[in-house]
Symmetry: C2
Subunit: 363 residues, 2 copies
């Protein structure tokens, strides 16, 4: 090999090295890798508000990451397991989930506390508990043994007490009352002699119309309007059992750990914002839909449960909670944290929002 040939070879080698170094620099500083996460949601495709929250989250993540974080959303029609989200994310079959924490209480009893509790917090009171009052840390204690991260996933606003065919004037009127009301609230009503039942959403309208059931609860005007219950039930009761229902984003911890720090930050902020946005949207949709119900069905009567009924429900709630707390130290810790937080924040809610709304309603 001549000297000239050697020089040429060195130059060519240098060329390749410079080019390689340049690309290494690119990938080390900016990390152009596209991360793809799969999310399973409990809801069907295009489910209003709940489904908007996952789409909003995925869109923010994609735009903020310049396409480096892609989240594919599978609705229940695709994965066929609306109440299998916890297991599918835990096992890694999905990286993320969008659901509600209290759906998992049969599996992990302490997941009950992170959606909304009877006689519990209003939406922003609860956000304050999550982010400033120790709620996130307690939620982590419950979820981390399952290799899961859990974050607030969007608020429905205060849920209504439900649609009733008959007026509830006393605790006696709850005796034998057939009501679609699932979960912990159903257990409370059962304590007072009601007969809570669970019925598939598609059969609710007919069941209420034909008096197979006497009452049902769904969400609030935001989602009740399209179910049509206002056409067939005269009484709409105000809420007690879910004052601030918060949905949930779940993440598999291994999928989370694989993300670079900037995408972790993007994902966390996208989830937080989508959750807050869903509360804002729920407020808007409930306002709009309640106005529409009132104008088209002016005979619908809004009723508060009598104080005697509320007291009885509250006592039953406390009895049931006590059973949980006696069996489980972490349940006790969470219950106490929530009770103490309400004791701290509620007097403020009373001299601010309650005073203002009462004063304005008098005018």
């Amino acid at each position: 090999m001549s000297l000239i040939q050697k020089s040429l070879k060195r130059v060519l080698k240098a060329t390749a090295m410079v080019a390689a170094m340049a690309f290494v620099t690119t990938s080390a500083t900016a990390d152009d890798t596209v991360y793809r996460l799969k999310l399973a949601e409990t809801w069907g495709p295009n489910f209003p508000i709940f489904g908007d929250a996952t789409k909003n989250m995925a869109k923010m993540a994609e735009e903020m990451s310049n396409g480096r974080l892609q989240i594919r959303i599978d609705s229940a029609n695709k994965h066929k397991a609306p109440l299998g989200v916890f297991d599918m994310v835990k096992s890694g079959q999905y990286d993320m989930g969008h659901s509600a924490s209290y759906y998992w209480k049969g599996k992990v009893p302490n997941t009950l506390y992170f959606t909304s509790m009877p006689f519990g917090m209003l939406p922003t009171e609860q956000y304050a508990w999550f982010y400033y009052g120790g709620g996130m840390e307690l939620m982590e204690k419950v979820y981390s043994p399952h290799n899961l991260l859990s974050f607030p996933g969007g608020n429905t606003d205060t849920q209504m007490g439900g649609w009733f065919q008959k007026e509830i004037k006393s605790v006696d009127d709850l005796q034998g009352l057939k009501m679609r009301i699932p979960g912990f609230a159903g257990e409370i009503l059962a304590e007072l002699g009601a007969k809570p039942t669970n019925i598939a959403p598609g059969e609710l309208y007919t069941s209420l119309e034909r008096r197979t059931i006497d009452a049902l609860e769904w969400v609030g005007p935001s989602l009740d309007l399209r179910m049509g219950f206002h056409k067939i039930a005269p009484y709409y009761y105000t809420g007690w059992h879910e004052p601030g229902t918060e949905l949930q984003f779940l993440i598999n911890k291994r999928a989370w750990d694989r993300l670079p720090d900037d995408l972790k930050a993007i994902l966390q902020v996208a989830m937080k914002t989508a959750a807050y946005d869903m509360y804002t949207q729920s407020k808007h949709e409930s306002g709009k839909n309640w106005a529409s119900i009132q104008s088209e069905y002016p005979d619908v009567q809004v009723k508060d449960f009598p104080p005697e009924v509320i007291s009885a429900l509250r006592e039953a709630n406390e009895r049931l909670l006590k059973v949980h707390a006696e069996k489980d130290a972490l349940a006790k810790e969470i219950q106490e944290s929530q009770a103490n937080y309400i004791e701290q924040v509620r007097p403020w809610s009373n001299i601010s929002h309650r005073a203002y709304l009462n004063s304005q309603a008098q005018q």
Copy 2:
């Protein structure tokens, strides 16, 4: 030049081109450029809650952008112009601002409507108006002629009516009342015979203690506690004049246009989240501080203004608003949008939060 020399030269040229191309590729796909924005805030350094919102926003932007978006925050001690933020951002002296829209009403009257209006919306009602009820579009109409973008910047929660030395039992008690209450609310009180004054924050405590003034309003327990007014005034009145005070992020439009799309998305989401977070933090701090005032100063009495006084304030408010609407078509459009939105959302707030808080307070 020999053939060999020519070959070498071509190879060296190719080397340079490959290297250059590699770097061009880096900057085109990932854009490692660091964008530095300067933000002027109306508040002093380390001002609680308000100042936390700007720090929170800048931190999220930095983390999500992997350091590509750096926001330097200058507090009022640095730029010396707390009420010059609008002009400094408009001129491009600063890229961003954090302040409150109603501070600019002397300059641009229609900026009045985007903070909180007397007898107006609660915080989440107002977020719903901004994001789903046309509020953002109206705010853009007001700010875009000034080359500015404006976004919600954090909520203080419902402001209290203020600290009073004397009880207000009738409209007559407002005659000659010397009260520190700036802005539009002060104009309303003046209509009813009160003497609104403005006093520097550092002199408020002494003025109220020595009865140079009879009353003052500040914010709510979140920020009132450290001012110490509860030590020297017996009555704390509930709110009417700022039910949901929202601060503001301002951006110079040229500075905004220079950002690549992903950093625009990051900045917009960081501002939105910091605003929502500030509302959550305000709820927490007011709850905590009100609990502390109640336990240390149990003699502080919370009072509602009598319905007769509220009616008179409301009528004065409507008279003053009408004057604005008659002079300015956009003022009329904004006023109508807000009034219609309250008419739509408030019945929902009443059957949800009001019903719930009243029912819980009876127990």
